[in-house]
């Protein structure tokens, strides 16, 4: 008997619908490291008591645990954003060799248009490269169904299955008819070295098995219902997958469609059949010409999309342009507000001091990356997670005389900064690494991590002691400073920069979104203001300039952190903390 309410309609995001589908399919172990737009998949799964869900330390760890659990006999799930799967590529590539015992679904969320990412990679290529089947739902309702089909494929063909969402599917919401959970009895783990010990001799055999499996999957692709022809007017035939299908169906309601719910491996016979029926064969897809090249490689006469479409996400109004073979038009985001660090953000204090001391900053990924934008402009590199630590080393090796600082958040440090720190100690590089410990993974929406001492369900666990960890790596000077104490922060930074050796400064104050305390907001003394604009340089959303060049303090946004008070050289912004404290005592 299926458990839970069945046949109920719920308004679910693509992520929540996928999680719900996995839950219904009996998933037991689910692992992820947060990353937009994938984060809500694990957050949803953690809400089901039957699922053993975790925030893993990073994506490689997440995939290994999930693969281990699938090999160990229970249905498992991994989820991450596109760049997260890059971190997990090592286990992923060989997971195709070992296969599974119970089903393993690997969910990856791409971010066309880079709403919240550092690159715009098209992860469909990973399916080709890794020789793994790939399903791609177009909508939340499909995500709910496809993940269940993914578990069937995984177990029937003994392979991990990739499910790819894009931002517009992951963060779409649709009314979804949910069902109950079907428990799947765990299998026992059978020792089978030929399958699970990937030394060369076994690996070679498994590679052959993998190639045979791909042939079987090609046959599956020909007959599965996730690939389907919707025949209309055959003057225009559109091959399409993902969210682009939804846009195209509305733009060309009368055309013929070949909707590919499974972009890898491609169903060659189905494609030939479709191509034979239609006069024009057009592929509509976001980012790279993945389907287009696959179709062309079959020798089919498919139209070539203009290269400009490889960049950026599609919008519904783009579909006619692609069909008419036009290039992508320039799209204007003029006037759109850029994101900024929140009022009261402890990171702002750190970057103010870094900027004031004119140090070049190797940055990392988190809310603090927002410090790269002018007027702060106090973070100078950002490539991938962990690189705040390693780029400071690389920059110092290239420019030995110069002063560089590496900056990394608490979650990012544990994810992949720690290995860079060990490397720096081992290879004897001098430098200063700042760990911005705001007690959460803020950028992706406040997830816990090992340094917060709380797990994904909000239960207490052993807290990772960052200062002890750094010392254990061999860092001799580790300072812990409240970033709001600007004097100590500046004094320590200067001292450590002048010293030889490698030091770590942990700036510790919880994210404002965690504490949400509002302190008395400063008073602005207009008559003292000389319009120097220094307070505007801290890039606080509560401060702006009026028509006359004076300051406007937005009392709804200001939370009274008093950084502007500390930077104002003319005492035009005055703290009200003391006054208020006096009143209350």
């Amino acid at each position: 008997m299926a458990r839970g309410k069945t046949g109920k309609k719920e308004l679910l995001s693509g992520n929540a619908a996928l999680a719900r589908g996995a839950y219904e399919a009996g998933v037991k172990v689910a692992c992820a490291y947060p990353g937009t737009p994938s984060t809500e998949i694990l957050e949803t799964l953690a809400g089901f008591p039957e699922v053993d869900a975790q925030w893993s330390v990073n994506e490689k760890v997440a995939l290994e645990v999930a693969l281990g659990a699938a090999v160990g006999g229970v249905r498992s799930l991994y989820a991450s954003k596109h760049v997260g799967l890059n971190v997990a590529m090592d286990p992923l590539m060989t997971s195709a060799y070992v296969g599974v015992s119970a089903g393993l679904v690997v969910v990856v969320c791409d971010d066309p248009g880079m709403h919240s990412s550092q690159n715009e990679q098209d992860t469909r290529w990973v399916a080709l490269y890794g020789k793994l089947p790939l399903l791609e739902p177009s909508s939340p309702a499909e995500a709910h169904l496809f993940v269940q089909e993914a578990y069937r494929i995984s177990e029937r063909y003994d392979t991990p299955v990739l499910v790819r969402l894009t931002t517009r599917v992951a963060h779409a919401k649709e009314d979804v008819t949910t069902g109950g959970r079907r428990e799947v009895a765990p299998k026992s783990f059978n020792i089978d070295a030929a399958k699970y010990v990937m030394v060369p001799r076994n690996g070679m055999r498994r590679h052959a098995v993998l190639e045979q499996r791909l042939e079987k999957l090609r046959r599956y692709a020909e007959q599965t219902a996730v690939n389907r022809i919707e025949e209309g007017d055959n003057t225009l035939g559109i091959v399409v997958s993902g969210v682009a299908y939804l846009y195209a169906r509305e733009a060309y309601p009368d055309a013929s469609f070949l909707k590919l719910g499974m972009p890898h491996p491609l169903p060659e016979r189905l494609l030939r059949d479709f191509a034979g029926r239609v006069e024009r064969l057009v592929v509509i897809e976001e980012l790279d010409p993945f389907l287009e090249e696959g179709v062309r490689a079959m020798g089919l006469d498919v139209e070539r999309r203009h290269v400009s479409w490889r960049v950026g996400e599609l919008r519904p109004e783009d579909i006619p342009l692609i069909v008419k073979r036009r290039p992508r038009p320039r799209r204007d985001r003029a006037g759109a507000r850029r994101p900024v660090m929140c009022a009261g953000c402890p990171h702002r204090f750190v970057f103010w001091i870094l900027r004031k001391n004119k140090v070049t900053v190797a940055g990392d990924i988190g809310c603090y990356t927002l410090a790269a934008a002018p007027p702060l402009a106090a973070l100078h590199t950002c490539v991938c997670m962990g690189a705040g630590v390693t780029f400071q080393e690389g920059l110092r090796r290239a420019q030995p005389g110069e002063r560089f600082v590496g900056v990394v958040g608490d979650s990012t440090f544990v994810h992949s900064g720690i290995t860079g720190l060990i490397n720096a100690v081992y290879n004897r590089i001098d430098g200063v690494i700042l760990i911005l410990d705001n007690a959460t993974t803020a950028m992706t929406g406040m997830q816990d991590n090992p340094a917060t001492g709380t797990n994904i369900r909000g239960e207490p666990t052993r807290r990772l002691d960052l200062e002890e960890l750094c010392r254990a790596c061999g860092v001799e000077s580790v300072d812990v400073i409240d970033p709001e104490d600007l004097e100590s922060l500046e004094e320590t930074l200067k001292r450590r920069l002048d010293e030889k050796g490698l030091s770590v400064i942990i700036t510790r104050r919880p994210c404002w979104q965690l504490v949400r305390t509002r302190r008395p907001i400063p008073e602005y003394l207009r008559e003292k203001c000389r319009k120097c604009g220094i307070c505007l340089q801290i890039d606080c959303p509560a401060l702006s300039e009026d028509e006359e060049g004076f300051i406007k303090l937005d009392e709804d946004i200001c939370v009274g952190c008093d950084l502007c008070v500390k930077v104002c050289p003319f005492d035009a912004l005055v703290s009200r903390w003391k006054e208020e404290a006096g009143e209350h005592s």
Binding site: H115, S116, K173, D175, V243, E250, P316, E317, V340, G445
Partner: protein
């Protein structure tokens, strides 16, 4: 397509104004009223004080979660600058509810309730019963339900007073 009955609503504002919440409430209400619903939103970086928009479409024959530019039936802005930026996306007969922002700010007990007040305005234009709206508010909102309900009813009343022809229409796209 000619038989399709689609309502396309674009909510916009700045991070923290409750843009996504407002769209969620409409989504729940439209679903409970029996419509197929598609909604789009973006999380993450842009939520930190940046521009936020959410597209919501319901009706029969809805596929896309995004509204094509020039096809917005109702623009529901919580911020004047965002309204000016996105007005170009209105359909020829589309309605801009931005004209209500000032009145809303004058009436609500706190800026936080601007979104539900504006939803009250929107509600008179859509084929969803008031009781369905009110239970959707209850489903989505976890705090200050009473104040939000009051704001919704006040916005609804203001729009009724004006008559549903009073949203600002725009010619051309």
């Amino acid at each position: 397509m000619s038989t399709a009955e689609i309502y396309s609503v674009l909510f916009c504002g700045i991070g923290g104004q409750g843009v996504l919440k407002a769209a969620d409430i409409l989504g729940e209400a439209a679903m409970d009223a029996g419509w197929h619903v598609m909604k789009s939103e973006v999380h993450g970086m842009s939520q930190r004080g940046g521009s936020v928009e959410s597209h919501l479409r319901f009706g029969s024959g809805v596929f896309s979660p995004l509204i094509a530019c020039g096809k917005v039936d109702f623009l529901v802005p919580f911020d004047g600058a965002e309204a000016r930026r996105l007005r170009q996306c209105l359909a020829r007969r589309g309605i801009d509810l931005g004209v209500y922002i000032e009145r809303a700010l004058g009436e609500v007990s706190h800026k936080r309730f601007l979104n539900t007040w504006m939803l009250g305005v929107l509600s008179v234009f859509l084929p969803i019963d008031e009781s369905v709206w009110l239970s959707a508010l209850e489903k989505v909102l976890r705090y200050a339900l009473k104040e939000n309900r009051q704001a919704f009813v006040a916005g609804r009343w203001a729009a009724k007073q004006n008559g549903t022809r009073q949203g600002r229409r725009h010619g051309g796209t």
